[in-house]
C-alpha cells in the first residue's frame, strides 16, 4: 500500500509512523509546505488517558515524549485577587517543536519519507492508495472532496504567547477591566517555558482598543494586565496575532481514498484540550483500522465510525466550554470558590461527585460557602437550605406532582390532595402545584382553582406542607378538554376565552376575545382575590404564571400580542399588563413571604422572543419585588419547536440568575441529586425542579 500524508504536524507524522510501523512494506510519504524546523505555537498538553493510548500505540514514541515532558496535577484559578487550586487534575505538557522533532526522528527511523518545503497544489494528483489529509484547519485537501465541511467562528478573540515563567499547574487567570473580562490560559511545557494564551469576548477586545493594534502594543497591554501571573516576565511572540477560534466540523471524514485527520477534520476549543491530542488519537484510530481491514474503503469506514462520534461528543463539550469563556463576564458577581467550581464543571464532563473524588477539600469549601453559618461538615448542596424573604426552604429539590385534578366544585380533589401529601413525605424542599385564578382561566374543567371558598378550604387542609402555589389564568389556552384526551383540544361546548389579541391559539380552536383595558382591572382583581385566598390558606410561596401562551404570556410574547395600544408594541408595552398583575399580587401578598414568577425564556418558535428578552422580563420582575424566577420554554404558540435533553432548561435559569442577580428554579429533565448538587454548587440555580421518571 502506498500512503501520502498531507501535512507534517503531529497528527500527520504520527499517522505516517504508525502506518509504517505496522507494515514496513507500506510506502509512506509526508508532504509539508514549510521547512522542517518551522513551527507555530508553543506547548502541547496531554491528559493521562491520552498518554496511556500513546504508550500502547508505539512505546518508543511514548518514551521519547515522556523523556521531554513536564507533568502537573493541579488547576489554579486566579480571580478577584483570590487563588483557588483544584488538585487531582493530571496533565502533561511538551514543547511543540520537541514533539515534532521526535516524531520526525521516529519517522526517519522507520523509513517514512519526509518531504519538507514541497507545496502540494493538487492533492488529487498525488500518487497513493490512501491520502491522509492532515493539513490543518484550512486544509487544501479538504477542498478536493465532499466532506460537508462547516466552519464556525467563535465570539472571542485570543492570542497565543510564550513566557519564561515555569508554572506548576494549569492556570486560568481572570482580570476585570473597565472594558470587561480578559482571561489567560497558561500551562508549562518544559522546565523553563509556558504557553500563555490571552482571550476576551470580541466586544471587550474591541472596546479595549486592540483591534488593529500592533503586536508590541498587544504584548505591552497583556503584560501589564497579567503582571502578577507573569511575575514581571515578558510575553514572547511567535507570529502571534489576535484571532477567532474556528470550529471545524465535517459531516463525513472520508471521500474515496482521502481521509481527514486532526484539525482538517475537527477542532475543539483550546480550553478543554489540545488539537494535537485529538489529532494523535485520530492517527492511532486510523492505524488500527488498517490493522483490522486490508481494504481501504472498509478501513476508512471503520476509522470514521470509531472516531467521528467520539470527537463529536468531545466537540459538544468543547463548545460548552468555549461559550463559558466567551461570556465569562456574566459570572463575575460570583465568589471565587463558586466561580472556580463552575469553571471546573462547565463542560459537563466533571460534576460535583467526580470533582469531590479529585479534590474533596475544595468541594467541601464550595459547599460550605452556600451556608457559611452552617455546620463545619456541610451537607451536599442539594440538601442545604435556602432562605427567600422570611421563608427558609429546607433543601433545593422542588417536586411538582401533577397535574392535579379538580372535584366538582373546582377544588383540588381528595385524591390530588393525597398525592401532594404523599409527595411531601418524600422530603422535597418545596411542592409546586398550580391553580386557576378564575373559572374562565381554567385550562379544562379538570383544573383545580383557588377562586371560591371550597377551593380555599381544600388548599388550607394542606397547611404545614412546604407548598408553592402557581397562579394561572389560561387565557387563550382555556376551555380545553381534560389533559388526558390530548393537549390544546377545545371543548365542544366550552366558555369564551380571553387573550391579548383575538387570534386563536391553534388551527381549529375558537378565537379568544381581545381583553379591553376596562376588563384588565377585573383580571387584576381575580389574581388579587386568589392571592388573598392563598395567604389565608397558608401557602409559603406564590408564583405568578406568565409562561407558555397562557393569558399573561399572551401579552408578553410578540407572537401572540398584536395590540397597537399601550399594552402592545415594545417589551415595555407588552409587559405593562403582566406587571400590573404582578404588582397587585405583590401588594396583596404578605411582605415576609416570597413571590415568584414563571416566565418563557425562549418562545421556541420562528419570529418569537429568546433569552435576551427573557432577561429583560426578569429584570422588570425583579425590580417589582420578585424573589424567584422559574424559566420554562416553548408553547408560546401552537407551533413549538422544543429542544429536550438532560437539564434542558438549566441554561436559562443560569443566564437569568447570573445576569441580573435573582434566585432561579431550574428544571427540565433533572432526575438525580447529583445534578442538583452540580447546578447549585456552580451557582447556576438556587432550586431545582426534580423530574421523577415513573418506575417502569
Amino acid at each position: 500500500m502506498k500512503v501520502a500524508v498531507l501535512g507534517a504536524g503531529p497528527g500527520g507524522l504520527y499517522a505516517a509512523l504508525l502506518l509504517k510501523r505496522a507494515d514496513p512494506a507500506r510506502e509512506v510519504t509526508v508532504w509539508e509546505q514549510n521547512p522542517a524546523g518551522a513551527s507555530y505555537g508553543w506547548g502541547v498538553v496531554f491528559s493521562d488517558t491520552t498518554l496511556a493510548e500513546l504508550r500502547e500505540a508505539d512505546p518508543k514514541t511514548f518514551h521519547a515524549i515522556t523523556d521531554r515532558f513536564v507533568s502537573w496535577d493541579a488547576i489554579d484559578i486566579r480571580y478577584k485577587g483570590a487563588l483557588v487550586r483544584a488538585n487531582g487534575q493530571p496533565f502533561a505538557g511538551i514543547r511543540r517543536t520537541a514533539l515534532l522533532g521526535l516524531l520526525q526522528d521516529r519517522c526517519a527511523e522507520l523509513g517514512v519519507e519526509l518531504r519538507f518545503e514541497e507545496r502540494v497544489e493538487d492533492p488529487g494528483a498525488l500518487e497513493g492508495d490512501l491520502l491522509v489529509a492532515a493539513d490543518g484547519v484550512h486544509s487544501v485537501a479538504r477542498e478536493h472532496g465532499g466532506f460537508g465541511t462547516r466552519l464556525d467562528e467563535g465570539a472571542a478573540r485570543y492570542i497565543w504567547f510564550g513566557t519564561e515563567v515555569p508554572f506548576d499547574s494549569f492556570l486560568f487567570s481572570f482580570r476585570e477591566t473597565e472594558h470587561g473580562v480578559f482571561q489567560a490560559h497558561a500551562y508549562p511545557f518544559d522546565g523553563t517555558t509556558s504557553t500563555f494564551i490571552v482571550e476576551a469576548n470580541e466586544e471587550v477586545w474591541r472596546d479595549a482598543g486592540l483591534e488593529g493594534a500592533s503586536i508590541e502594543h498587544s504584548i505591552a497591554f497583556c503584560e501589564e494586565m497579567f503582571a502578577d501571573d507573569l511575575r514581571g516576565r515578558a510575553l514572547l511572540s511567535n507570529n502571534s496575532a489576535w484571532i477567532s477560534f474556528v470550529t471545524v466540523r465535517n459531516r463525513r471524514w472520508r471521500d474515496g481514498r482521502v481521509a481527514l485527520l486532526g484539525d482538517a477534520a475537527h477542532t475543539a476549543h483550546f480550553s478543554i484540550g489540545s488539537g494535537t491530542k485529538l489529532a494523535m488519537e485520530d492517527a492511532i484510530a486510523l492505524a488500527r483500522a488498517f490493522e483490522r481491514h486490508a481494504e481501504i474503503e472498509v478501513a476508512l469506514k471503520d476509522y470514521e465510525a470509531d472516531r467521528r462520534p467520539r470527537v463529536e461528543r468531545f466537540q459538544e463539550a468543547a463548545a460548552q466550554s468555549q461559550r463559558w469563556f466567551e461570556h465569562v463576564g456574566r459570572y463575575t458577581k460570583m465568589e471565587p470558590e463558586r466561580f472556580a467550581f463552575y469553571l471546573l464543571t462547565r463542560s459537563g464532563r466533571i460534576d460535583h461527585t467526580s470533582l469531590r473524588v479529585r479534590d474533596p477539600g475544595l468541594v467541601t469549601l464550595v459547599d460550605r460557602r452556600l451556608d457559611p453559618a452552617g455546620p463545619l461538615l456541610p451537607a451536599p448542596p442539594s440538601l442545604q437550605p435556602l432562605t427567600l424573604r422570611g421563608l427558609t426552604i429546607a433543601n433545593r429539590a422542588v417536586v411538582a406532582p401533577g397535574p392535579l385534578v379538580a372535584d366538582s366544585s373546582g377544588a383540588p380533589s381528595p385524591q390530588s390532595l393525597a398525592v401532594l401529601a404523599a409527595a411531601a413525605r418524600e422530603g422535597p424542599g418545596l411542592l409546586l402545584a398550580s391553580a386557576a385564578v378564575t373559572a374562565v382561566g381554567r385550562v379544562s374543567v379538570e383544573e383545580p382553582g383557588i377562586h371560591a371558598d371550597e377551593h380555599e378550604a381544600a388548599w388550607t387542609s394542606l397547611a404545614g406542607l412546604p407548598l408553592a402555589l402557581e397562579l394561572r389564568h389560561a387565557g387563550p389556552r382555556g376551555s380545553m378538554r381534560p389533559r388526558a384526551q390530548g393537549i390544546d383540544r377545545s371543548l365542544a361546548e366550552g366558555w369564551e376565552t380571553i387573550a391579548a389579541s383575538p387570534a386563536p391559539y391553534g388551527p381549529g380552536l375558537p378565537a379568544p376575545r381581545e381583553l379591553t383595558p376596562d376588563e384588565m382591572n377585573a383580571v387584576v382583581e381575580v389574581f388579587v382575590d386568589a392571592t388573598e385566598r392563598a395567604r389565608r390558606a397558608g401557602m409559603d410561596l406564590l408564583v405568578v404564571d406568565m409562561s407558555r401562551g397562557y393569558l399573561l404570556a399572551s401579552f408578553i410574547s410578540p407572537l401572540s400580542n398584536r395590540r397597537d395600544d399601550r399594552y402592545g408594541g415594545d417589551l415595555e408595552g407588552r409587559m405593562r399588563f403582566p406587571l400590573q398583575v404582578f404588582d397587585a399580587v405583590r401588594a396583596a401578598w404578605p411582605i415576609e413571604r416570597p413571590l415568584g414568577a414563571t416566565i418563557t425564556a425562549d418562545d421556541w418558535a420562528p419570529g418569537g422572543a429568546g433569552i435576551e428578552e427573557a432577561v429583560e422580563v426578569a429584570r422588570m420582575l425583579r425590580d417589582g419585588g420578585c424573589d424567584l424566577l422559574r424559566p420554562v420554554a416553548g408553547q408560546s404558540a401552537w407551533r413549538t419547536l422544543p429542544i429536550y435533553g438532560p437539564t434542558y432548561l438549566a441554561a436559562f435559569a443560569d443566564r437569568i440568575r447570573n445576569e441580573i442577580g435573582i434566585a432561579t428554579l431550574a428544571g427540565g429533565a433533572i432526575e438525580t441529586a447529583g445534578q442538583i448538587d452540580t447546578l447549585v454548587a456552580a451557582g447556576r440555580a438556587d432550586l431545582v425542579l426534580l423530574d421523577q421518571t415513573p418506575e417502569s
Binding site: K301, I487, P642
Partner: protein
C-alpha cells in the same frame, strides 16, 4: 416489557400469503404484537392493508404500524382505515405515525413534502376529532421521529413514542425526552414507549445486511451503524431485550431482516428459552 415481532411486509417479492402466515404464527407464539413498516416508494404491502389482513388471521396480538408516514395519506382515509382495522381486530390497533424520512415516499404517493410538519400536527389533532365524530374508539397513537418536536407531538396528541431503533443507550436518551415532553405539556401519566430492533438468526446474513443497506441507503453513512446493530445471535437478542427493558421500554418489536418464516421460528425459540 412486552416483546413483539415485525411482519415481512416491506421485503420486496414476499407474497401476501407469507406475510399472513407469519402473522398467524406470531399470534400463536410468544409475541405481544405484530409490527409493520411503511415504504410507499417500493412495490410492497401498505402497512394499513397489511394490518387489515392481519386482523383477520390473528386473535390476540396488538397490530402496530412502526411507523406509517402519515402526511402522505388523506387524513379522512387514515382515520377510516384505522377505525376499520381497530374494529375488525376488537381494539388491537396501535397507530405509530411520523412525517417520515424519505422524499421518495412523498413522490411515490404524489404528496407534497413541503409543510409536512404542520400538516402532520393538524392530522394528529384531526384524527382524534374524526374518530370521535364517527363514534369510533380512538386507537392509541404513537408518534415517531428523531427531531425533538416529535416528542412534543406525542405528548400533545399521542399516547406514546415509537423509537426508530439502535442500542439501548439511544433508546434511553429518547425515553428521557419523551418523559420530558409529557411533563412539559403537563400530560397526566407517562408515555407508552415502543422500540424496535432488526434481527436475523441464521440464514443468509449477507443477504440480511444487503437488505438493510438498501432499505436505509437514504441515511447515508449512518446505514453502517444500522447494519452493525443487526442482532444475529440468541445472546444479542437476549441482551437487547434486557437492555431495552432497563431503558424503560414498554414494548420492543423485533423486525425481521429476512422474510424466511424459519426466522420467526428461531426467534420464538430464543424468546421461549
Amino acid at each position: 416489557m412486552r416483546v413483539g415481532v415485525g411482519l415481512p411486509n416491506v421485503h420486496p417479492g414476499t407474497p401476501r400469503e407469507t406475510v399472513l402466515a407469519w402473522a398467524r404464527a406470531a399470534d400463536a407464539g410468544p409475541f405481544s404484537s405484530v409490527g409493520v413498516l411503511h415504504r410507499a416508494s417500493w412495490d410492497v404491502l401498505d402497512p394499513l392493508e397489511a394490518l387489515a389482513a392481519a386482523a383477520g388471521v390473528t386473535e390476540r396480538v396488538s397490530l402496530v404500524t412502526m411507523v406509517a408516514v402519515a402526511p402522505i395519506y388523506e387524513t379522512d382515509h387514515l382515520a377510516k382505515s384505522a377505525a376499520e382495522i381497530d374494529a375488525a381486530s376488537g381494539g388491537r390497533l396501535v397507530l405509530g405515525l411520523s412525517v417520515g424520512a424519505r422524499r421518495e415516499d412523498y413522490e411515490a404517493a404524489g404528496a407534497d413534502p413541503r409543510g409536512r410538519g404542520v400538516r402532520f400536527e393538524e392530522q394528529l389533532a384531526g384524527l382524534l376529532d374524526l374518530w370521535e365524530e364517527g363514534g369510533h374508539r380512538a386507537p392509541p397513537v404513537l408518534v415517531g421521529g428523531t427531531a425533538d418536536v416529535a416528542f412534543a407531538r406525542a405528548a400533545r396528541w399521542g399516547e406514546g413514542y415509537v423509537h426508530g431503533g439502535g442500542p439501548p443507550r439511544a433508546f434511553a436518551a429518547a425515553a428521557l425526552k419523551a418523559h420530558a415532553a409529557w411533563r412539559d405539556f403537563e400530560r397526566p401519566g407517562g408515555p407508552q414507549l415502543w422500540g424496535q430492533s432488526y434481527f436475523a438468526l441464521g440464514g443468509d446474513l449477507d443477504h440480511a445486511r444487503g437488505y438493510l443497506r438498501e432499505y436505509y441507503a437514504f441515511t447515508g453513512p449512518f446505514v453502517e451503524r444500522i447494519v452493525d446493530d443487526l442482532l444475529t445471535t440468541p445472546q444479542q437478542v437476549a441482551a437487547r431485550v434486557r437492555g431495552y427493558a432497563e431503558a424503560g421500554c414498554d414494548e420492543l418489536v423485533l423486525i425481521p431482516a429476512l422474510a424466511d418464516p424459519a426466522q420467526l421460528d428461531r426467534l420464538s425459540e430464543v424468546l421461549a428459552g
